[in-house]
Structure formats: structure tokens, C-alpha cells
Symmetry: C2
Subunit: 407 residues, 2 copies
């Protein structure tokens, strides 16, 4: 399957979507903090959420509104998570009601998302006040402004779009915006990703394709091991590409699911590379595992290790930390079967064979470590399953950002 | 039960133990790196080890030697973990053989431990060369030098001893040395703790008391979430206090087990407070849990959260990160029942009641945050079980230490 990545792609590339962003005043900095994305007709919709047992009231309301498999709009605020506050549920419902009123929709057609500080009440008034202007500004070029409005500690906005030609010859577009970049860990790896497409697809298959894509992308990121209360990945499908409807798990479904996964993996890497304080993307490939679940667990364990992350940051060939993180992953690995190779643009070096040092010099390994991005390839020698996880190094900047976090 | 803490206490306070340390040349810095502790008669012994599936060959040999429930000596090197190297097993056996030869013992009477870098061969020659002098220097005042010799990134040596009077009127002494301070996480929370006592106790009861003490102390520490390949806690009991033998789970056993746990918890706090780069100890008390296992898991989740740890470092009242870490602990908590109180020398503040913000001002919370050490008290509202975990804040210094780690 070949994909064409669209320059400056985002949620407004698929047919049928407009978007707008505003600085509503939720962030004290005055930066943009509210994004609205509208589908011109009722879209098929699906969403997946954080598995944290403490969840934002915004997540609770979004889950409820997505349950019927259809939606018209995403509304996403940054600057406040709307979580663990006395009035959170009323605020989340108020956001949807105000958005629906401004657009002439029913509240359950609106899928909300929030990100920011936990435990401080999110004021509804600034959002209500900003909505008329937001609606007036909706345009087919508003996607990137939305990517900017949902940023918190992200340093770059994340937005992508791709097209592919399905087996029936129709061209389908998928677009997305996403945000990181702290409190990110498996079990819904990203804070937010809002995805749009002009494919025509049934709600159950859209949900199935979304879950599969998320498992191999956002759920394979770890920035800091903290699973957020607000993680949300949601998709709307407008059907306006006028491609034949995807209603069976046939070739057309597989092409769509593959394209969605490709989009999500690209965004997952974008998020990992822009992890709080990160200086580089880190990829961990686990091969020859007994099962996909095992491969994922080992890959996530390595990518989550503070000691691996600081070693990468230091350009330090302390690969013992990698095998150590394999050992405590909670998977029945056999150390005597493990091979580890570090790879980068500078080349590759097998540092460990059958669980023991190969004797390659630290200087040689350091040379590869210092040419990011780095891929850590771990062969478990137990089967044929594999997985890939995405993370970043751990720097002093991560600490500084999180020691002084303000909205 | 009352305990008397001995000033400058260590492994040489219980009757029957001598110790010595040396700079054998394993550390390139030339700092002390080898510790020897001898019991003048065959001691009852027990040990517990890392649960990491990748383990040091030194751990493998120590486990084998401790299996018969008796020992005469501890030999502990820093500067090299003797892990994942081609000749690690031969080196571990060589250390025990050389120690045994120098002391006139059988190799299986020697319990070895190693800590330091993984994947680089530990040279045996410097250890063999140092042993005669070590043996010649064994003395009843050598315990603290041993605590210094097993340090890696620790900034202070950890050593303690206490006495108590058993139900039969006999005075029993327990002493220990321990080291942290990175790659520390539940499932054998410390790198090394070597414990001595002059109690008389059977091997099965010594093992039972040790496991119980470790579960409530070293296994409740997390510095960075990385479970080491080399964690070792071992104890020798000389029987030289001439107290009646502990052979049943009676009052005398419970008094001993309680004293051992008290010693281990004190050392666990010492290790947590001296975590790599740490500026303060952090205690998390979980109360009203459905089970002890649940309480431990939630406490460890909170203490392990990078975001909680950086917030504490920043003196920032971002308590949402605390409840967030409760939510992803993997325990069936009910957020609507959770109360959170932060406590310090400056007072206390209940920041969250029944899962929602109490509205106490951030300034007021910050005042408490800035008077370390801080205790985070979390009531789950589900039962009567409780647990306490020990950690530290996460600072730029942790990153700097681990980005440039050298032996």
C-alpha cells in the first residue's frame, strides 16, 4: 500500500470538515486554548479513552456522546483537564450544550476533550463567550490552528494527513491533530488525537479499525510512565469521498485500517519525539517474541526505563540497562536467548548475544548512540511475534518543565 | 516494643561479627570497593534477591550458597555488577573460592554480592590480591568502612544497629549496612542490605522474618522504577547473644521479626532519602484499602510517578498528579471515595475529598509542600488495610548522574 502524505496536512483535508481555534482565556498565558472541528453532515464516529480509573468528567461525557457511533463536532480545550473538580460534570455538559447551541446541533453530537491541570475548576463562561466567533471562523484551512490550540507543553503542533487509493479505485483521505507531551504512557498513549476521514464506514468497523490502530501506535508510546486522566482518541468519518461503503472486513476495510494505523504511528512518533524535555526520539523493536503481548510489554518496559532514557540522553553505551529493563518486564523471557543490537544513522552494533556482552568497545557503541534517532533491536529468541514502542530520552529539561508546571 | 538505636551502629555491633573494607581497584576512581564481613562461628543465614529475570551471576551463586540456611561471611564488591558478561559465573565462583581460601572456609559458606555497571567483565585478580589484607584488617569496628565500600552513587553510607530486650529478658542486637541509590524499585527495593544479628533462630524462621521485613521496607522503595539485576538482602545470625533459641512462631519470634522490620524500614527510608539526585524523602501512606496488596500497589504507584516526583521537587501543589497515579495503579479503586491529605512539618491540608478538589488554595498547599519531608496520605475508603511506600523527588541531578554514569 502506498500513501501520499499531504503537505501541512491536518483534520481539514478530508472532505466535509472545517475547523477554527481561539484564545478563549482558559490559559493564563493568553495562548490559543480552544479548538472546534465540524463535519458538515452527520459523521460515523468512534473514540477510545484512558484506562485510568480516575478520569476527567470531559472523558465521561465524550464516552457517552460517542456511544451511538455518530457525531458532528469535536470541541477540545487546553489549559485545564476538567478533572476531580466539584463541578466538572456540569462543565463538560455545559461545553457540549454551548457548542451544540452555537452550531444548531444536539449536545450528544458534540465530542469534547480537555487537557491541562487537574483539580482546578474549568470556567465555562470563557468557552461560551468564544463559541460564536469560533463558529464564524470555521474554515477548510483551520486544522493547523486547532493543532496549536490543543498544545500544552508540546513544542511543536502535531498534524498530519495522508491519502490512499482503495481497492475500488476511490481516493480516501485521513487527517489528524494530536498533542503530547507529558503524562504519557501505554493504555492510551497520547493525551489527544482527533482524526477525520472522508471514508464511508460503519460505526462498528470504524471502532475496530481505531482500536487496532491505537494498539500499535499511541498505546506504544511512553514519555514518563504516567497514564493521564484525559487521554482521548476520536475519529469522525464523513463519507464524502464518495467511495463505496466499508461494511465488511474485506480488502477495502483492511486498506482503510492500514492507512489509519499508518497515520496513527506517524503521530505517535511525532508525540514521542516531542516528549517533555526530549532531545531525541527512541524506538524499541522487539523481535522473535513468543506473542505480540509479550513483545509489546518488553518494548514498553525498555522505552519506559528512566535509566535507559538517561543513558540515551548522555550518549552513553550503558546497554546493561536495556537488558535489565527486559528482565523486569514481567514476561517469561530467557536471558540466555537475548540478542541486543543498537542501530542509528551511524550504523549498528550487536552489544549482547545470548545474554552476554559481545565485547564490542564502549567507544564504538557510543558512536552509534550519538547519532539519533536510535533504534534498540531486541531479539528474544522465543517465537515470531514482534512489536515496536516509541519513547524519548530523559533530560534535565523534563524535570524543569514538570517542577514548574503552570497552565 | 522499644528499641535502642546504637550511635554509629552497623553490622559489627551484634556479637560475633568483624568486618573490613578495601580499595581493591575495581572502581577506576580508586575509592573503596570491597567489603568483607565475617561471623566467628557458623551463622544461620537467609537471603532474598531481585525478581528481575536477568540476574547477576553473583546473585545466582549467592542464592546457591544461602540455600542451606548457613554461612560464615559476606563479600560485597561495588564498581561492577558482574552481570551479562561471558565469564560472570566463573568470576562469582572465583570470588567465593578466594574469600574462602583466605579465611579457611568452604566456598559455600561465603555469600557474595556485586553492584555497579552491567555488561563489563569483573576482573578477579584485584579481589584475590586484596583479600589477605582484608582478612588481616577484620575488626569489630570495621562495619562503617564496609558501608562506605559498597556505595556507588550513594552520597552517604547507610548503616544502622538497634537492640531490644526479648520477652525472655535477653538483649538482642541487629545491625546492617545498605546501599542505594539508583535502579531501585519494588521487587527487592534496595541494591544491597547485609544484616547481622546475635539472635539464635532457626533458618526457616529467619527466612520468614526476613521476607516479611523486606516486603514492608525495601520492597516499598522506588527511586526510579528500574528493578536491578543485583538486588540482595542477606542476614546472618550468630546466636552469640546467648538468648533462648527462637524455634517457634511465638512471642520471641514476633519480637525479633518486629525488630528486624523496624531496622529494615529505617534503612529503606535512608535509601529513599539518598535516591540519586534526590533533595528530599517522600512518604506515601495508603489507608482504608480493601487489601494490603491493594494498599501497597497504590502507594508504590504514587511514589513511582515521575510527575508526582517532579511536582514535589518543584514545591508545586499539583495534587492532581497524585490522584492520577492512584487511578492507573491497576487496583479497583473508586475515585469518588478517595481523600488526599498532604502532611509535613508545616502542617497538613486535605486537598481532595471524595475524589474532588476541596478548594484549598494552591498557596496554602505549596506552603506544606515546601517543608520536607512530605507525607502523602491517601484514604481509599474501601476497607481497613494500609501500606507505606518510600521514595524521593526527581531532580535535574538524577538525569545528570545517569546520563554520565561511570564506574
Amino acid at each position: 500500500m502506498t500513501y501520499e502524505w499531504l503537505p501541512h496536512g491536518s483534520v481539514t483535508d478530508p472532505k466535509g470538515f472545517t475547523a477554527a481555534a481561539a484564545a478563549a482565556g482558559i490559559k493564563v498565558s493568553g495562548a490559543p486554548d480552544l479548538a472546534l472541528i465540524l463535519c458538515e453532515k452527520t459523521a460515523t464516529a468512534a473514540a477510545v479513552f484512558t484506562k485510568n480509573r480516575v478520569e476527567s468528567d470531559t472523558v465521561t461525557v465524550c464516552r457517552r456522546h460517542a456511544a451511538d457511533g455518530s457525531a458532528r463536532a469535536f470541541i477540545d480545550n487546553s489549559g485545564n483537564a476538567n478533572c476531580c473538580t466539584p463541578d466538572g460534570l456540569a462543565v463538560a455538559e455545559g461545553i457540549c450544550a454551548a457548542t451544540a447551541a452555537a452550531l444548531g446541533l444536539a449536545p450528544q453530537d458534540v465530542l469534547p476533550a480537555s487537557t491541562g491541570i487537574i483539580g482546578e475548576s474549568l470556567p465555562l463562561a470563557p468557552i461560551e463567550k468564544a463559541l460564536p466567533t469560533l463558529v464564524a471562523n470555521l474554515s477548510a484551512s483551520g486544522g493547523i490552528a486547532c493543532a496549536e490550540a490543543i498544545m500544552t507543553t508540546d513544542t511543536v503542533p502535531k498534524h498530519r494527513a495522508l491519502t490512499y487509493t482503495g481497492p475500488d479505485g476511490a481516493t480516501i483521505t485521513l487527517g489528524a491533530i494530536a498533542k503530547g507531551s507529558g503524562m504519557i504512557h501505554p493504555n492510551m498513549g497520547t493525551m489527544h488525537a482527533l482524526i477525520t476521514t472522508d471514508a464511508t464506514i460503519t460505526a462498528p468497523l470504524l471502532k475496530k479499525a481505531l482500536c487496532a490502530a491505537v494498539d500499535d501506535s499511541f498505546n506504544m508510546i511512553s514519555i514518563d510512565g504516567d497514564t493521564s486522566t484525559n487521554d482521548t482518541v476520536a475519529i469522525m468519518a464523513s463519507g464524502l469521498a464518495k467511495a463505496p461503503a466499508i461494511a465488511l472486513e474485506n480488502e477495502a476495510y483492511r486498506a482503510f485500517a492500514e492507512a489509519l494505523k499508518t497515520l496513527c504511528i506517524a503521530l505517535a512518533k511525532d508525540i514521542a519525539a516531542d516528549g517533555e524535555g526530549a532531545s531525541q526520539l527512541l524506538i524499541c523493536q522487539v523481535l522473535d517474541a513468543a506473542s505480540t503481548a509479550d513483545a509489546r510489554q518488553v518494548a514498553k518496559s525498555v522505552i519506559s526505563s528512566s535509566l535507559v532514557k538517561t543513558a540515551i540522553y548522555g550518549g552513553d553505551a550503558n546497554w546493561g540497562r536495556i537488558i535489565c529493563a527486559c528482565g523486569y518486564a514481567g514476561v517469561p523471557i530467557d536471558p540466555a536467548k537475548i540478542d541486543i543490537t543498537v542501530k542509528s544513522g551511524a550504523g549498528f552494533a550487536t552489544v549482547c548475544e545470548k545474554g552476554r556482552a559481545t565485547g564490542i568497545s564502549r567507544r564504538e557503541i557510543n558512536y552509534i548512540f550519538k547519532q539519533p534517532p536510535l533504534t534498540l533491536e531486541i531479539k528474544l529468541g522465543q517465537g515470531k511475534a514482534e512489536a515496536e514502542a516509541y519513547g524519548c530520552d530523559l533530560t534535565e529539561r523534563y524535570v524543569a518543565i514538570n517542577a514548574e508546571y503552570e497552565v
